[in-house]
């Protein structure tokens, strides 16, 4: 997949939809494209976060350690962004992410990510929207759990 195709893909992701193509191209050019084999991990719960990942192709599972062992809490696919929380608020990785099968990602370093946010307020808004949506989802889950 060439740079231009990556740019096309990035444009379809809500987070980046409003950024001009030349900036997306820079984002793609300066980000490493990484291929993982099934079973390899992008990162481990508890690690220090240094990058976020955009999934270009393949499926990954998000896993959290519990007392009863590790469980899968979500599945990610093409176009999903993962790992941005740890670099946004400097907390250790809250979950592990593992490639389910062959997985291709674009790795955006912390430095680049912050640069994008400071330059393009649209991205901040998108991230806020995404975080709010997640919070809402969590609240729903919490209510459901409590009402049970």
């Amino acid at each position: 997949m060439s740079l231009n195709e990556e740019v096309e893909l990035l444009r379809k992701i809500p987070l980046f939809a409003k950024i001009e193509p030349s900036k997306l191209k820079l984002l793609a050019f300066t980000s490493e494209r990484l291929t993982y084999q099934g079973g390899q991990r992008l990162f481990q719960q508890g690690d220090v976060g240094d990058a976020a990942y955009i999934i270009i192709d393949g499926v990954a599972s998000v896993r959290i350690r519990t007392d009863g062992g590790e469980i899968q809490v979500a599945e990610l696919g093409k176009g999903d962004v993962v790992g941005e929380i740890a670099i946004l608020c400097d907390v250790p990785r809250t979950a592990s992410v593992e490639a389910t099968s062959k997985l291709i990602t674009l790795r955006i370093t912390k430095e680049l990510f912050f640069r994008l946010i400071s330059e393009f307020p649209q991205i901040s808004i998108e991230i806020m929207r995404e975080l709010a949506a997640r919070l809402e989802r969590t609240n729903v889950q919490l209510r459901e759990a409590l009402s049970r």
Binding site: S2, L3, S22, F29, T30, L34, T35, L42, I104
Partner: protein
């Protein structure tokens, strides 16, 4: 050392000086005769006196006038040759003598530096000592050659000429020397002042070199604290001092010169006046006057030489005295102590005993006093103390690096401080807090621990033999530095030695570092064919390992002569080899005429130019808005931020006139860009299959038509040949680590490691790592690595007594503990004395001697000392 330079000359060059003097004396009659001959020609042959009757009898033969003239002229010519020959022979002999003496002097000074008492190096700096040996003594050598023969020759010449003048006419002779007394009185007086200034100048220059040396050593502080301005001001002040002195010398020297010249010019006045008067009166022949005038012309040369000799003599005398001042120290080590070989190797396996030992430093501060301790062979003792406790200087004293001011250290019956270094330096070892690593390979730095003396004859080479014989003439060392030095009896040789080195490295945990250096290192496959062969088998195993495992297969893209490697640059794909030397380096390959011709022959230039334009416009698009100091430029851009505006302008030009229309310079700029392109990394989508196929075509043409003189500039890739220009790792990989594979470098490293282990090659790689050049003072290694080399160097010969002084302080705590334990294991049954400030290190030893305030306060096992009420416990609790 001899107290004056004349003593030195007499002691070391008496015979040569006598030979020179004799030759000089023999030359004088010829000189005299060559002066006399012109008179004879003018007076007799030309008949200036008008009374010669031909034929004349000369040397038993009769001559007519013309024949007589030819004969005398021929004789004159012969004398010119003879005099010239004497001069040449004497000059060469003198020059050789001077060089020999200079060599001897320098060697003596260097040998003395090696015998300086160690505390002396705290008082003198490199900057002071180095210029003495390198520059200041240089004129001394020349002077020594001249010292006796030059005044004899020039003085003799002078006297010969004067004698000749007196013989011609006493009055003219008197006229010639009339002003000499004035010169003889005034000139030395003025010279004395110049000499004093010369002394000052030498000192001032030493201070200057010291300043420079200090600035180089402290360059980090200068940058970190913005001290450049202060340093420049200080340096400038010193230059000012030197300027003033030099100018004053210059001025005075020229006054002397002026005086000499003036007097020399004045003398002919007397000749013309008095001599002319006498000739007119008929009391002097015209021939004699001509001869005297000719002789006087010859007179000024030796006179000048003598005067300058006098100045040089004074210079040399002062320099020599100043050198002696610096190098004749009262408490220097005796030469025998340093160099004498004991008749029998003498182990130091007796009881080590320090009795009432004390050390007071130069400033009168007590470092430690009244220390008495004993260590039976095999003792492992920690010398523990807080900073300033005295354990450090005590350890150095036991290691013989300090001379105690009271008490003594004995091993068995022998006083340690009087034993020759041949015993202490072989049976004892010392490692301080900052080991010095010499600018050489790791291997040699380790082996230095067992290179005490030549262990065999010098190389069997006539050149080497001649060089050593020459060295003997100047009383230099006659050991062959490139001959065998490694003491096989102590540390083994051949494969055993390598195994032992590697064992030692793993002991100090330097083996992994050396393994890494080895993988990045190169070998000469002709010199080490067995290694090259085994690396080739590793290449094969590695390729098979990758090919067999679907998870690994994508990690490396192997080189293949007929496939484009998408993880390599265009330049690498074209070259299909490793550049050797400057010709095909990535930065310049695009401009190389042969590369251009090759590309033209396959009609690629146009396409590459288009690619260059596309790359340039992409770069301009991506990076134009970034500030020029942005890190992306360094990491990702093909074009540096400074060049970006130029490329912008270039692209505009291309837009206007097309690629064919722009200047050759612009084309060269564009052409250089695509060579850096790596499809798998940059993903610009510019190298389609067709383009790749054509670059492969160019690759084939490049190799096929490569001119003879460029063969050495590239080491081509070949699957079954070792590539001498590439590292071991690249030879094993024989391909490129693929971009975009997660964690690829570490995973490839692991596969290489396991392949090497399977083939039992890890030790070989470590051995290659041993040949890593460590840089100046080991600058390419970390402080910890240097320290590890120091400890491994000492351990290599398993000394009877091993003294360590905070030797692992730069290590992290757990590495320090591991190192101590490993060292103690390796030194089982031998004595170890380890000075440390860290209680956790001290606790690793069966016995701890605790120092405080320069006194030994308690000794015991850790369990005994680590209790309430003991000093060790108290100090440990504070730290």
């Amino acid at each position: 050392m001899e107290s004056t330079i004349y003593r030195f000359i007499l002691r070391y060059s008496k015979r040569e000086q006598v030979v020179l003097l004799a030759m000089t004396l023999i030359s004088f009659p010829f000189l005299y005769y060559s002066l006399d001959l012109p008179k004879r020609i003018v007076n007799d042959a030309l008949g200036a006196k008008g009374k010669t009757e031909f034929p004349v009898t000369f040397l038993g033969t009769e001559f007519h006038q013309l024949e007589y003239l030819w004969t005398l002229s021929g004789l004159f010519l012969a004398l010119v040759f003879i005099n010239g020959g004497f001069k040449y022979w004497i000059n060469v002999y003198r020059g050789r003598l001077g060089e020999l003496m200079l060599r001897r002097l320098r060697y003596e000074l260097y040998a003395r530096i090696l015998r300086f008492p160690i505390p002396h190096f705290r008082r003198v700096s490199q900057g002071e000592i180095i210029p003495i040996v390198t520059q200041e003594v240089e004129p001394l050598g020349g002077f020594i050659g001249d010292s006796i023969s030059l005044p004899a020759f020039q003085g003799g010449t002078l006297i010969t000429i004067l004698f000749f003048m007196f013989v011609q006419d006493p009055i003219l002779g008197l006229a010639a020397i009339a002003l000499s007394p004035v010169q003889a009185y005034v000139v030395p007086k003025m010279q004395r002042r110049v000499n004093a200034l010369g002394k000052q100048r030498v000192k001032a220059v030493r201070v200057m070199s010291d300043r420079i040396g200090e600035s180089i050593s402290g360059v980090q502080e200068i940058h970190a604290h913005n001290l450049a301005r202060l340093m420049l001001a200080r340096f400038s002040a010193q230059l000012g001092v030197i300027y003033d002195i030099r100018f004053e010398i210059y001025r005075r020297k020229f006054i002397i010169k002026f005086l000499n010249n003036f007097i020399a010019q004045l003398t002919p006045f007397f000749f013309y006046a008095i001599g002319g008067y006498l000739a007119i009166k008929g009391e002097l022949t015209l021939g004699a006057l001509v001869a005297v005038l000719a002789a006087y012309k010859d007179l000024s040369a030796p006179w000048k030489e003598l005067l300058s000799y006098y100045q040089r003599k004074e210079d040399a005398r002062i320099k020599y005295e100043q050198v002696i001042d610096q190098f004749d120290l009262p408490d220097m080590m005796a030469e025998e102590t340093q160099l004498a070989e004991p008749e029998m190797p003498q182990p130091l396996d007796g009881e080590l005993r320090a009795s009432n030992l004390g050390l007071v430093d130069d400033d009168g501060d007590v470092q430690f006093e009244g220390v008495s301790l004993t260590a039976s062979p095999g003792t492992h003792l920690a010398l523990f103390g807080p900073g300033g406790g005295g354990n450090e200087p005590l350890a150095m004293t036991i290691a013989r690096l300090n001379h105690p001011t009271s008490g003594r250290v004995t091993v068995g019956q022998a006083d340690l401080h009087t034993l020759p270094e041949a015993i202490t330096g072989r049976r004892m070892a010392y490692v301080g807090p900052a080991t010095y690593v010499f600018s050489s390979t790791i291997r040699e730095n380790l082996l230095l621990g067992a290179m005490h003396r030549p262990t065999g004859p010098a190389r069997d080479d006539p050149e080497v033999k001649a060089a050593l014989e020459n060295a003997a003439l100047a009383a230099n060392s006659t050991d062959d530095p490139e001959g065998p030095w490694i003491d096989a009896q102590v540390i083994g040789d051949g494969p055993d030695l390598v195994a032992r080195l590697i064992d030692d490295l793993s002991l100090v945990e330097l083996d992994a570092d050396c393994y890494g250096l080895g993988l990045r290192g190169t070998i000469d496959p002709d010199g080490r064919p067995e290694i090259a062969e085994r690396i080739l088998s590793a290449r094969q195993s590695f390729a098979e390992r990758l090919a067999d495992d679907p998870h690994l297969v994508d990690l490396v893209e192997p080189f293949s002569a007929d496939r484009y490697n998408t993880n390599a640059t265009v330049a690498e794909n074209l070259l299909f080899g490793t550049p050797v030397g400057a010709a095909f380096q990535p930065e310049v390959i695009a401009a190389h005429p042969y590369v251009r011709r090759t590309l033209e022959s396959v009609d690629l230039i146009g396409d590459l130019l288009q690619m260059g334009r596309d790359v340039a416009s992409t770069m301009v698009e991506l990076f134009a808005d970034l500030p020029s100091d942005h890190e992306f430029f360094g990491q990702f851009s093909f074009i540096s931020p400074d060049d970006l505006p130029e490329f912008q302008a270039l692209l505009t030009r291309v837009e206007r006139v097309g690629l064919d229309g722009v200047s050759e310079e612009d084309r060269a700029r564009l052409l250089s860009l695509p060579f850096k392109l790596i499809p798998a990394r940059h993903r610009l989508g510019m190298l389609d299959d067709d383009m790749q196929a054509r670059i492969l075509e160019a690759r084939a043409a490049f190799a096929r038509d490569l001119p003879e003189d460029l063969h050495a500039s590239v080491a081509f890739f070949s699957v079954d040949a070792y590539n001498a220009a590439a590292s071991l790792q690249d030879n094993i990989l024989f391909g490129k680590i693929a971009y975009g594979q997660a964690d690829s470098v570490a995973r490839v490293g692991a596969v290489i490691g396991s392949v090497l282990d399977d083939l039992d090659l890890r030790a070989t790689v470590i051995e290659v790592g041993l040949d890593f050049e460590v840089g100046i003072s080991g600058a390419k290694l970390s402080a910890v690595q240097r320290q590890k080399i120091g400890i491994a160097r000492a351990l290599l010969r398993r000394p009877d007594i091993f003294v360590l002084n905070d030797a692992a302080a730069t290590f992290d705590a757990s590495a320090q503990r591991r190192l101590v334990s490993a060292t103690l294991r390796a030194m089982e049954g031998r004595t170890v004395i380890w000075s440390t400030q860290r209680p956790d290190i001290a606790r690793l030893f069966p016995t701890i001697a605790v120092m405080r305030g320069g006194r030994l306060v308690e000794t015991g096992a850790p369990a005994d000392l680590d209790r309430e009420g003991r000093v060790f416990h108290e100090i440990a609790a504070q730290s």
